[in-house]
């Protein structure tokens, strides 16, 4: 198929066929990560800048490993999110980096839409590694790979997502992806953490966790923080744990073979009990493993997608390689 995307800004930009193509590509890259020499020359000579305006060890590391396994030169830049304070605008920061001619910028930023903003203004590919509370496409894709790994396919799955939906970019990407590929999504959490319009996005919304868990194939727990943007949305972590946490008792409401996912980092004893976190249904480390393969696929596709209107000699090269 013709994958016509130079940027990866969100799940929203892809249709079902494209999403499946990315997932298939990721599956192929997964094999490399099991080899002794975990490196292929695919992106040799390419430069990838990991531009992180927000601290994120695991996503950054995952993208860095993905880039290195594809033989790209990866550079990590930790920038301050409050560029306004420094007096340099996001555009200026990005232009400075672009002047060094990277092929791909992988960006994490605290402002929703920041990657969109950058992609409109720069010539290189932009991959969204999380923008504000908007999207986190690579996380949704690695979640999908993990669900397919354990459940065969996404179509027909009941996925329960529980926690702070309002402040979760992971959820927004996941809802879109899961719906496009035929799964149904149930959402649960205290009403202080449920934004308006979830029904319009096709989700079933519950304020009781038990209702969302019943018969679920996949349970995705979100990280809870007491303070969000200076607001207290719940009285205490203790109370949250009691009414909205996942434990062995309410987990029994889900299907017996249900898998448990978490985008990490987990708060043991808050949104997930230790017993469940260490239980056999937990696939959190599979998520991490699949993350590298998904990010390799995104880097590969973004790099190849850069010349859609190919030059005249493309046909020639294509033919020569058809041997």
């Amino acid at each position: 198929m013709n994958f016509a995307h130079r940027h990866v800004l969100g799940i929203k930009q892809f249709n079902a066929e494209e999403l499946n193509f990315i997932l298939d590509t990721a599956k192929s890259f997964k094999e490399i990560n099991t080899r002794k020499i975990k490196k292929v020359p695919t992106l040799r000579g390419r430069t990838i800048v990991n531009l992180f305006f927000e601290a994120s060890t695991r996503t950054r590391t995952s993208f860095e490993i993905a880039g290195k396994r594809l033989s790209a030169d990866t550079v990590n830049i930790s920038a301050s999110s409050s560029s306004v304070v420094k007096g340099e605008t996001l555009e200026d920061t990005a232009r400075n980096i672009e002047a060094m001619h990277p092929d791909i910028i992988v960006m994490r930023h605290s402002a929703s839409g920041a990657c969109h903003y950058l992609a409109e203004r720069l010539d290189c590919s932009v991959i969204n590694a999380g923008d504000g509370t908007h999207e986190h496409p690579s996380q949704a894709l690695l979640d999908a790979v993990t669900m397919i790994q354990h459940k065969g396919q996404l179509a027909g799955l009941n996925v329960a997502i529980i926690g702070d939906i309002t402040h979760s970019r992971v959820v927004r990407s996941n809802i879109d992806l899961l719906h496009k590929l035929g799964a149904s999504v149930r959402i649960a959490g205290p009403k202080t953490m449920l934004p308006p319009g979830l029904e319009r996005l096709g989700c079933k919304v519950f304020s009781r966790v038990a209702e969302a868990l019943e018969g679920a194939d996949v349970v995705m727990m979100l990280r809870i923080q007491l303070e969000r943007q200076g607001k207290t949305l719940i009285p205490s972590l203790r109370e949250y744990s009691r009414y909205f946490g996942l434990n062995e008792k309410n987990l029994a409401l889900a299907k017996p073979d249900a898998i448990i996912m978490h985008p990490g980092p987990m708060n043991r004893g808050v949104e997930i009990s230790s017993a469940v976190a260490d239980g056999a249904q937990n696939v959190i480390l599979d998520q991490v493993e699949n993350g590298v393969a998904v990010r390799m696929a995104l880097l590969y596709l973004a790099a190849g997608g850069e010349k859609q209107n190919h030059d005249a000699d493309e046909g020639d090269i294509h033919e020569q390689l058809a041997d």
Binding site: A4, F21, S28, R35, V40, L43, H310, H318, L321, A322
Partner: protein, 177 residues
């Protein structure tokens, strides 16, 4: 595919050629010890499976069979729109093995270069030999096949296609002008 089509080999002729190649492989390697077959996706992997079957008929031993996908080793990323990445499937160590790399049509040699790079990343074979059904010339790299089904002089603009049936059996080789 546009233009005039000429059949180069039919199913019977292909089988004859593969049987001969199987004998040559056994002769050159003095049996099946340490021998493994690796087919290049897609086409070469189907032919490698045929060769495995023929060798089994002659020697009574099924030699290990693997497939290699060379997409990640291509040298033309960015000059084309995205190609699907297939999976490499080699479930045995390559160290000190005598590898016979199998492809359907040998042309510029760039695919073979990529496949050898891929194999070397997976281990250190003792030898790598190359078996192809058709050698159509126009090499751009110093690569020479060890076993050839048919040498076929072509012009650059012509195209060669090996056809397979639904069971992945080769049923014909056609030339398009």
């Amino acid at each position: 595919m546009a233009g005039e089509m000429t059949e180069i080999l039919d199913s019977t002729a292909i089988q004859r050629a593969l049987t001969r190649i199987a004998h040559e492989i056994l002769e050159r390697n003095k049996g099946v010890d340490n021998l493994v077959l690796i087919g290049i996706r897609t086409g070469g992997d189907y032919l490698a499976a045929e060769l495995q079957q023929k060798i089994a008929e002659i020697e009574g031993v099924k030699v290990p069979l693997g497939t290699v996908d060379i997409t990640m080793y291509r040298d033309d990323l960015g000059h084309r729109s995205n190609l699907e990445v297939g999976q490499t499937d080699i479930r045995f160590p390559l160290n000190d093995r005598c590898v016979v790399l199998v492809d359907d049509v040998l042309f510029t040699g760039r695919t073979i270069r990529a496949a050898m790079d891929a194999l070397v990343d997976l281990g250190r074979p003792r030898t790598i030999q190359l078996a192809v059904l058709i050698d159509r010339g126009h090499r751009e790299l110093p690569i020479r096949p060890d076993y050839v089904g048919r040498n076929l002089p072509t012009s650059r603009s012509e195209q060669i296609e090996v056809q397979f049936n639904a069971q992945r059996g080769p049923i014909g080789v056609n030339l398009f002008k």
